[in-house]
């Protein structure tokens, strides 16, 4: 499978897919997308790298510990829930504010976005964790 064509195409595609997955994550609240889809897309981009170059080669460049990713995601999602409690609301109550930023204009900030980032990280982490575990198995 790992022909030169595959390698070259994946080098070109993977950054684009990752950017797209991030845009899916942040667009999710109003347009099709969200943490789950974005996460799966990110995971498939990385799995393309793994398939094209081989686990060992990727690991030799940088060994990702995907279990840390889902750990962090779960922590972030739970902390979002507790964050609402700091302001005296119920667990996981969503908070909202509009902020004017230079260049970007009016941006709405939502606590649910943070929660969605948590979902995103959990999906990426657990999928790739399984993927790598399966791939490493002899």
């Amino acid at each position: 499978m790992t022909t030169l064509i595959t390698k070259t195409v994946s080098k070109a595609c993977v950054p684009i897919i990752i950017l797209f997955s991030v845009s899916l994550l942040f667009a999710g609240h109003d347009l099709p997308g969200g943490g789950f889809i974005g996460g799966v897309m990110f995971a498939s981009a990385i799995s393309l790298l793994y398939v094209a170059f081989g686990l060992k080669y990727i690991d030799s460049i940088y060994s990702y510990q995907w279990d840390k990713w889902f750990g962090a995601g779960l922590l972030l999602a739970s902390l979002t829930g507790f964050g609402a409690m700091l302001f005296g609301y119920n667990f996981l109550r969503s908070l909202y504010m509009l902020v004017s930023l230079p260049l970007l204009g009016d941006v709405k900030l939502l606590s649910t976005t943070l929660f969605d980032i948590g979902v995103y990280l959990v999906v990426i982490g657990s999928l790739l964790y399984v993927f790598k575990g399966t791939g490493e198995d002899e």
Binding site: G28, H29, D30, L31, P32, G33, G34, G35, F36, I37, V40, M41, A43, S44, S47, V51, D67, F70, G71, G73, L74, A77, S78, G81, F91, L92, S94, Y96, K108, L110, T112, F115, D116, G118, V119, V122, V123, G125, S126, L127, Y129, V130, F131, G133, T134, G135, D137, E138
Partner: protein, 789 residues
Amino acid sequence: MDLFTAITLAVFLPFIMAGILPAAEKVLKNRIGWYATATAFLSLLLVALAVPSVVNGENVQGSVAWLPSLGIEMSFYGDGLSIMFGLIVSGIGILIMAYSNEYMSKREDLSRYYRQLLMFMGSMLGMVFSSNIIQLFIFWELTSITSFMLIGYWRNRPMSVYGATKSLLITASGGIFMLAGFLVLNIITGTFDIATVLQNESMIETIKGHEFFLFALVLILIGAAAKSAQGPFYIWLPNAMEAPTPVSAFLHSATMVKAGIYLVARIHPIFSGTDAWFILVSGLGIITMLAAGFLAFRQTDIKGILAYSTISQLAYMMAMYGYTTYQYPGIGVAAATFHLLNHATFKACLFLVAGIVAHETATRDITKMGGLRKDMPVTFIIGSIAALAMAGVPPLNGFLSKEMFYESSLEMGHLLGGPLEYLIPAAAVLGGVFTFAYSIRFIDGIFLGKRRSEHLPKHMHEPSLIMLVPPAFLAVLVILIGLFPSVAVHYIIEPAAAGILLQEVHLHVSLWHGFTTALMMTIITFIAGIALYTKYDTIAAWQDRMNARYPWFSINYAYDRIVNGAPGKSAAFAAVMQPGPVKPYLVALLLLFLVLGAIPAMLVATTLVPADLNFNVPPYEGILLGLIVLAALGTAILRKYLHAVIAVSAVGYLISLVFIYLQAPDLAMTQILVETLFTIIFLLVILKIPQTFRENLTRSVLARDLLISSAVGITVLVLLLNATQGIASPFESISYYFIENSVPLARGHNMVNVILVDFRGYDTLGEIVVLCLAGLGVYNLIKSRSDSK
């Protein structure tokens, strides 16, 4: 400080101090025991603050909301009974922790030891002051757990582990029965607060007349009996003697084993005065008293003798709390309460003496001892005082409560009439005779007679003052309560009995109270006891022979059979229920679906298929559906893994096309991505396994599989037809709520995402936890397989 705060603080102080104990240990090093002693002392002071008010009949009560939505609050209630227990727990606690300073070697893990002791003390205090029964249950089980840890303190000794496990299994499962009993009580009364029930006479009447009365009583009594080692549950206490001796003195004689007695006393106002109460509680008590007293003869371990004596002494109290009739509830309450206090003093003292003896002689076998009075005269005197108090010899405190036991037995027998008029007092005297015999055995076997020096170390001497003062203090108490009972009776026993009987109690206890029938019974006890003691070894030998001949005639045998058999039984169960291949699970799941889903659906639906079916499918959707069916068929028929996997992913991609037609871009995108990723994972896996199915199905199995799968398929089809265009739904669709509110409430235009992260965020949190766990599970399954290779 108001008294409710004092009680709350007394309960939580030991926990807090246990929490910061490791830090304190860094400073205090080996003197950490004094830190624990000081904690117990502070708790005693805090409890004692409430004594004056309770003696005047004003109980302490208060609560803090804890789980308001469930009606559970943290509430404490201090009446005479709780205060008495609180004083015993913290008071004995001081002595035990001081004694441990010398008893526990400096090389032991002192931090763990004192931490667990303090946590036990806190749990015990919490238990006796709990007003809410759920809270009582939590503290109750905490005492079981801390007791488990303390019995198993020496983790590398198999007998410690055995004893710890046994005690936990029995007391904690008894606790579960008790919880069930509490819940039944809650069904009857509608409250979890025991003080509310006690202060409400009509509520008590309701309970007594309720059809669940007996049910609740039996369940709660099982918990109490398991905790106090009564009836068949006694077997854990002798094995609990593997704990360090101060622990045995504290938990397994003076305090924790009395928790069951406490519970019986606590529910006395609610359940007593009925036949069931008398038969169950007194019956259990009398049988246990006689059996444990008799079985004590065989024991050669000095702590074993004390364990059996504890069981029989607790049974005295049990029997006395059971003495009630309709007209005279609570005949034995004052006597039982007094005996409870006395037992705590002399039994803790005996254990501490046993600890000294074992410490100096390096053995616990009574047959190797004898003649120690010359080496340890002070210990001899202290031990003799305590043992004679247990035997009921005047002028010690045990004599007074034993007399009261006889009196109440006489009165109870007299009220019942018939053969019971003589049987109950006779049983009481017989119990007293056994007690007398094993008490004398303790003194005679250890201190009197000839010194058998071949077994004992050359130089034995009195222990240091740290170990001598606590038992000496208790021995002095034993004498003082015996000579001047009125102080203890006025400040402790009367309020406690008032707490049980719910009315003012005035007792007149004095050392000499005339030449009564009870005194006659005591004299008979002494004479018969001495006579029995001359045959002591003969009886013990006979018991040994019987035990060797009929090993199955014992509760321990049954316990060992059950516990040792459990791993084999569960392995056999797992072998049947979890055979390994996926297919049996799938068959079970699908059959369950058919039974639970299809049959009820058919029963509910008036017609199987709605009459006016709308089969107006556009041609492009028709082609798509046809392709899906084809791909699915391919999955089932194709013989090679690679082909089958590709067919499965074809089904998935085609379904995502359906989503696009149905204008659900989120779903379509997710479906495509997941399908891609899982196809890759599948391909990674099948590279490493044989490429073709090696499954030779017989015709009957094939027919069965076909039948099940088509039945499931048809059921789903029928359910879908009914759901989408058949029966009018009785409920309004919930989607309108989300359509209306997703922008104003959650500021999001993508409803699917808004539901996921906002409206149903809690569900999503649960789902991502599952995702993490599934990831870890799959990873570990793969890794454990390669490890085992």
